[in-house]
């Protein structure tokens, strides 16, 4: 009976093994919304995280720039009464060349005459000022300060009494006239800006040497439109010059034509090596890491393998044809350090941009395509994991408002080190891209 039990068990186990029944139509339509719904929070969380990082960095940068401005202002202003008085006196003497007490009022008049239109509604303190000064009891309430006349914000000096008090005993100093009022009004412009830029990029490679294989490589390869995009920050060193950095993600694609790929080779692969095929490209050697793939050069010697045409025929082995093109894909994380010089600063401004970018290789794949899907072939071996590129570009900036501008930056880029570190053709590609995006100044 025990054998009979095993027999019935085996009958069902083997009989139902690999049995397939097509599911009813519409099941997938019910599964899809459920998995999409669950994925959405992750996408939202990711977007929220990115937004949070950008906002945090922006706020920190803003606070930092504000603190720098305040500390610079404080340094410009005298730190105590005495020095402030001396500075004021000198300033006044320098301007008027008369007795300081008298010259204050005259200086005010002079500045008023220079800075304000004649029909200015600001009341003139002329007579009263002279009279009060003669009595040595001028109160700040009677005399509008130069700061208020000129519309300049006054910083508070530590240790100084509040209000613009004129001390009759000190005779020749008017504390309201400290430092800054007689300086030219400071240029106030946003020091920082954050930009989000994206660019389609077209890569070009210089001609290789004149050998037959090099010519074959050059003629069979073509760059694919690649993309670069990211976030950058810029700090204005001066009104014209700014330094810019950030983080970009860029992709580079290359098509290698005339290499036939087949699937189903795994059952014929008896070698123990880590790869069966190598393909010579201008970016280095492709090593296959999919043991199921079989590669064959349609006409040439770019594929290096033990399974040459005279040893193995994919047609006789009935391998499935996949594609006649290989697609190399590289992705880099890029950190640019650029200098930007403003040539024209108007509603539509023009910049010259130049600098270096440091690129870290983060993705390296080689695929063939079948029915719109990727068929993994391998990767490009010996790629330089760290690339340095030099960039030069012209930037056009359209100021939508004081804070926001639209940017268009045609940029030329040259790779200072070659893609490949190992033996084979070494190329220094160059690329051309047009970055476009928005900038926010703060």
């Amino acid at each position: 009976m025990a054998n009979g039990d095993a027999n019935i068990d085996l009958l069902f186990r083997n009989g139902l093994k690999d049995f397939e029944v097509l599911p009813p139509v519409g099941v997938w339509a019910k599964i899809l919304p459920a998995i999409r719904k669950k994925q959405r929070p992750y996408v939202m969380l990711r977007a929220a995280a990115v937004a949070a990082v950008i906002i945090s960095v922006s706020v920190l940068a803003y606070k930092w720039s504000t603190e720098i401005n305040i500390s610079l202002q404080d340094q410009n202003i005298a730190v105590n009464d005495k020095s402030a008085n001396i500075q004021d006196t000198r300033s006044v003497q320098k301007i008027s060349g008369r007795r300081p007490a008298r010259s204050v009022a005259n200086s005010i008049k002079e500045v008023q005459a220079q800075m304000l239109p004649e029909e200015s509604p600001v009341p003139s303190p002329d007579n009263q000022t002279d009279q009060d000064m003669d009595h040595g009891s001028l109160e700040s309430g009677n005399l509008p300060s130069l700061e208020s006349i000129l519309g300049i914000r006054r910083a508070v000096i530590p240790g100084m009494t509040s209000g613009n008090q004129y001390s009759g005993t000190s005779g020749n100093s008017y504390s309201g006239l400290k430092g800054t009022p007689f300086d030219q009004p400071k240029d106030k412009y946003p020091k920082w800006s954050i930009s989000a830029l994206v660019s389609p990029t077209y890569y070009l490679k210089p001609e290789l040497d004149n050998s037959i294989i090099s010519k074959q490589i050059s003629s069979s390869e073509q760059s694919r439109i690649s993309y670069s995009g990211g976030v950058s920050f810029a700090y204005k060193i001066s009104r014209k010059l700014s330094i810019q950095s950030g983080l970009y993600y860029s992709t580079i694609g290359n098509e290698i034509n005339g290499i036939n790929s087949f699937s189903g080779f795994r059952s014929y692969d008896y070698t123990k090596g880590d790869h069966n095929f190598e393909v010579l490209t201008s970016n280095g050697l492709i090593y296959t890491n999919n043991s199921d793939v079989f590669l064959m050069d349609q006409a040439g010697d770019r594929v290096l393998t033990k399974y040459t045409n005279d040893v193995f025929d994919p047609a006789k082995a009935q391998l499935s044809y996949v594609d006649n093109t290989l697609y190399q894909n590289f992705s880099y994380l890029e950190m640019p350090v650029f200098l930007r010089y403003k040539l024209i600063d108007r509603t539509i401004g023009f910049n010259v941009i130049g600098g270096l970018s440091y690129n870290l290789l983060v993705n390296n794949t080689v695929n063939a395509h079948i029915s719109g899907n990727n068929f993994s072939v391998g990767k490009t071996a010996g790629l330089n994991p760290f690339m340095v590129t030099s960039s030069f570009g012209m930037g056009m900036e359209y100021n939508i408002s004081d804070k926001i501008s639209l940017n268009l930056e045609p940029t030329f880029r040259y790779y200072l080190n070659p893609f490949s570190m190992i033996q084979g053709p070494k190329t220094h590609p160059y690329s051309f891209g047009i970055f476009s995006g928005l900038s926010y100044k703060f």
Binding site: P23, P24, N374, S376
Partner: protein, 185 residues
């Protein structure tokens, strides 16, 4: 044809095309499993649907160790088990009071005329608890101890259910074989 690892990566990245490709590739085999564990088509469809949602939810935990198909099958079987546990109070433990002994020695029976679709039909005619125990023991290879934990019954009950399931199956198999032989002449 894209390798399964690339499809998994695509699914993890939220690529709809890869998600559909994964479903299209494996749905038929997994639906057969669902039918094997369920008494009707509607229940089988629900198990497949819930099973696939769990597969997509848990893809990130798949360690690429062992067969991916086996991993998916386990998820579907667990889904069927869960459904069974939730509704097992509704099932009568013994739908058949008297189980007739098989007429002949099963060792000498010739079952070669039976096809997979017949076997599926026969297994689905079993009462739910017998079907579950038989599937878990004979097809999936679990022990009675494991089965007792899975569906909250004693080991003795598991053995008894299996024995009854086998007896019914043997009888039905014989019946089906006889009918087939008559039909085929």
């Amino acid at each position: 044809m894209p390798e399964i690892i690339n499809i998994i990566k695509g699914c993890l990245a939220g690529n709809r095309r890869d998600q559909e490709l994964l479903y299209r590739r494996h749905a038929a085999k997994l639906y057969a499993v669902c039918l094997q564990y369920s008494g009707n088509d509607e229940e089988a469809r629900d198990i497949l649907q819930e099973g696939f949602i769990k597969i997509f939810d848990n893809l990130i935990h798949y360690k690429n160790e062992g067969s991916f198909e086996g991993w998916m099958r386990r998820i579907v079987v667990n889904t069927a088990l869960e459904k069974f546990r939730n509704s097992h109070n509704l099932y009568r433990v013994d739908d058949i009071d008297h189980i007739p002994e098989p007429d002949a020695d099963p060792e000498n029976e010739d079952y070669s005329g039976l096809e997979a679709v017949d076997l599926l039909e026969i297994i689905r005619e079993l009462p739910p608890k017998y079907r579950m125990v038989f599937n878990l023991f004979a097809i999936e290879g679990y022990s009675h101890r494991e089965i007792s934990d899975m569906i909250n019954i004693s080991e003795g009950t598991s053995k008894s259910n299996l024995s009854r399931a086998r007896t019914i199956l043997q009888k039905k198999v014989k019946l089906y074989t006889g009918v087939k032989k008559v039909i085929n002449g």
